[in-house]
Symmetry: C2
Subunit: 474 residues, 2 copies
């Protein structure tokens, strides 16, 4: 159901901060149904800060996003979760703007702001009436190099993060299963670790560790500023120069490649946790845009995901949920924009009276069918129409437009990929879909995790979040 | 077969360097069958270097071992294998003694020397005629703080290490299976990673990384000097002060705890590799001396291992190998002296005509029997006699005596544990053996790895090394 709303919508795993509202749900700028897609203007400051500005004059507002090229996939064991803890601490003030002041200033200006941490980046953003953009720049520039990191606030904030981990993962059986699944599927890749970090690691993170992390990664030459809205690009560049220009660049050591070794055989794990319903997740190792030797393959995998799970008429909802009633929910998930090689996952919950084994078998039959029979012209036509519709819909959101540019550039991909995406999808043939199914959906590269529900002991059950699958926003 | 030769013999996983001979096999000092166990004299220098000296006057020789509290379990992903690479580079010279000079000086003095890297420590040692001890001190003190790390030698040595990894692991199906097994069993604990490091990590280690590692961990206050031989302790302390005393201590940051999360269900993996015979390894999470809340439990687990695998008359060789002929080789392995919580493993190769599943079933039956029926008095008596015999045998080797002290102290255990070990083993009751079997051998904490042999493609098969099991010297 969540497929093909665009290049980012499928599998972008990120942790939205607790503060402020969810901007994706309230973009605020969708005032006109017409697509008025402007050009993207790009400039790089002398200190290395890259800036992208996209004009969108449908409403007198602006979205500003500052992306840092650091996230959970830059971490190593012992300090997992540190990018997310630092993101929390970015709201704990600088000498000039102490804790809480940043958010209050933005709110006083009628704006909203938040941040999120993902595997491959950490981003901070504000939405404001267009003339207030310099306010956001002033504040972001300040905390790019003047963060206070007061030990007292740190201790308190670490507790907040621990509680967040408890609610999101430890007390959520499907999230817990996903976490165990990732740890089993990846041995060397940093995707082995959860974005929020392992509990024991978080508990032992010190403010000293966080300061080191901040100093290692937060610098203009490791950041990307994206502005979308009712703005004049030259004015934006001038204001950016004024506020961010004086910040000195620093030596940023690139992360180690940590290329996942080739998987040598199937892996399967059981996760026992208090839960009401079982849950299954299966994942195959696949390439992404950054790792694929042939660029059409990630697009073919994306089409394949849509064949199974792109809307109500896709195979999973029509055959496994409504038709044979094997699953109450089943999804296929793939994110071609990851920084490192990733997984194509299938996940779901068996229908009442059905077992996880039956669901796994039904998914395997679907996979087998993809290997044996080409997808139909009607299915491909539906997918292509969905992509075009999604593209139009996405343009409604300034926030989403900025997000696309930032997320692509932050992992070292070209933002033009977002523009060419519909054509690339349209070019995928039934033979290519069959080819990637055959090449990648092999047992030796498969990991399977099964949640075996345990008694709830009087606890209220925490069901899966509406987003469901392995890579959902969490 | 390899059980109960002493507190270290069972499961000490370490990588002996390629240079020089294996000292454990050639202790050189076993001239008298009498046990002449001397007292251990201990002193700490002003710079923090701890020194242990044990007199053994049976032969005019001396063993000197320098232990650093760093090894693979101090590493994190991205730089796995760095302790071992550094150990190799320690033979690549200082300004005063360029590459090769150290070994030649020791050889010229009629001595031998080598080094090894393990999960929890890295150690360097020399065996010499007793008057030559200061030569060893002079050289070790020099390379403790003056290592050259020349980039040219580094590039060459890294290739040597890559080749070592290929021979030990990539081209050895049982070692490869053990590596995959550890990675599946441990998620957060550094025992997840192989001592030699992941291939991709080794390939991307720079001499700069190695220099940082050297500067972080190689310091007198992070080292332990152990001397055993025909020496006068006061003379040894004076010489140690002379050579090591002038070295400045440095700030050593303790490693993060990285406590493995409780395992939530059984895990199983398949490893497909070119091989002639299949191989099975099963491991349960267990405490060790440093993590056990009740100190008798590690000893009970050690006795349990001996019941199954302590000599020819133990249950595994007599029942599974000779009796029912299910296995050609099957072993039980446990190391109570690990720095972090570890595994109790069962591993083996099915006999011709038997399957891995049959072997697993036979091992499970043996485990079940331990849970249901107390071990016999005769079995316990045999084990206790073996421990006493082993203790006497160990005293034959100066090298082994030094090794016991160093390995225990390097993980933060008291060396007296080696002395009290026979009494602690003797105190274990049948009820305690049954209790630990019931408490720890539960499916939810089990990981199983199965090697599925693939065609050898004309390659000469690399069979398991004689030591066999998961934690063997390798």
């Amino acid at each position: 159901m969540k497929r093909l709303t665009g290049i980012l919508a499928a599998g972008t795993a990120l942790l939205l901060s607790a503060c402020a509202g969810n901007p994706a749900a309230a973009p605020g700028a969708a005032m006109s149904p017409e697509v008025t897609s402007g050009a993207v203007h790009e400039r790089t400051l002398g200190n290395g800060l890259r800036i992208f500005v996209k004009e969108d004059h449908r409403a007198p507002v602006v979205v500003s996003q500052l992306w840092y090229k650091v996230g959970a996939s830059y971490e190593h064991d012992g300090i997992t979760g540190i990018s997310h803890v630092l993101e929390h601490m970015m709201f704990q003030g600088t000498p000039k703007y102490p804790a809480g002041r940043f958010s209050r200033i933005i709110a006083d200006q009628g704006g909203s702001e938040n941040a999120f941490t993902a595997y491959d980046y950490t981003a901070y953003f504000q939405q404001l009436e267009k003339s207030r953009l310099p306010v956001a720049f002033r504040l972001e520039a300040d905390r790019m190099h003047n963060l206070s990191l007061p030990p007292k606030n740190y201790a308190k904030e670490l507790k907040v993060v621990m509680e967040e981990r408890y609610m999101r993962t430890d007390d959520n059986p499907q999230a817990l299963t996903n976490e165990q699944f990732d740890a089993a599927a990846f041995q060397l890749s940093p995707y082995h670790n959860p974005i929020i970090g392992w509990k024991n690691d978080i508990e032992h993170l010190t403010v000293h560790d966080v300061r080191n992390w901040y100093q290692s990664w937060y610098a203009p030459n490791n950041a990307i500023l994206v502005v979308v809205g009712d703005v004049d690009p030259n004015r934006v560049f001038a204001e950016a120069e004024r506020y961010f220009g004086p910040i000195k660049p620093s030596a940023v050591t690139p992360p180690k490649p940590r290329v996942e070794p080739v998987q040598l055989g199937e892996r399967s794990i059981v996760v026992k946790a208090p839960a009401q319903v079982p849950y299954l997740i299966m994942g195959y190792k696949v390439p992404v845009l950054k790792t694929a030797r042939e660029q059409w393959k990630p697009y073919a995998l994306d089409v394949l995901a849509a064949v199974l799970d792109g809307g109500d008429s896709a195979r999973f909802p029509s055959e496994l949920v409504r038709g044979r009633q094997i699953a109450t929910d089943v999804s296929a998930s793939y994110d071609m924009t990851s920084r490192l090689a990733d997984l194509f996952t299938f996940s779901g919950t068996p229908a009442k009276g059905r077992t996880v084994q039956q669901l796994e078998q039904a998914i395997r039959v679907q996979i087998d069918r993809l290997k044996r029979k080409p997808v139909s012209a009607a299915e491909l036509a539906r997918i292509k129409a969905q992509v075009t519709a999604a593209k139009i819909y996405q343009q409604d959101s300034m926030f989403y437009q900025a997000m696309q540019i930032g997320a692509l550039e932050a992992v070292g991909l070209d933002w033009h990929i977002a523009d060419t995406y519909p054509q690339r999808i349209a070019a995928v043939t039934p033979a290519q879909v069959m080819a990637v199914a055959k090449e990648y959906f092999v047992d030796d590269h498969l990991t399977v995790a099964v949640l075996k529900p345990q008694p709830l002991d009087g606890k209220a059950p925490h069901m899966a979040m509406p987003e469901g699958g392995a890579n959902a926003i969490r």
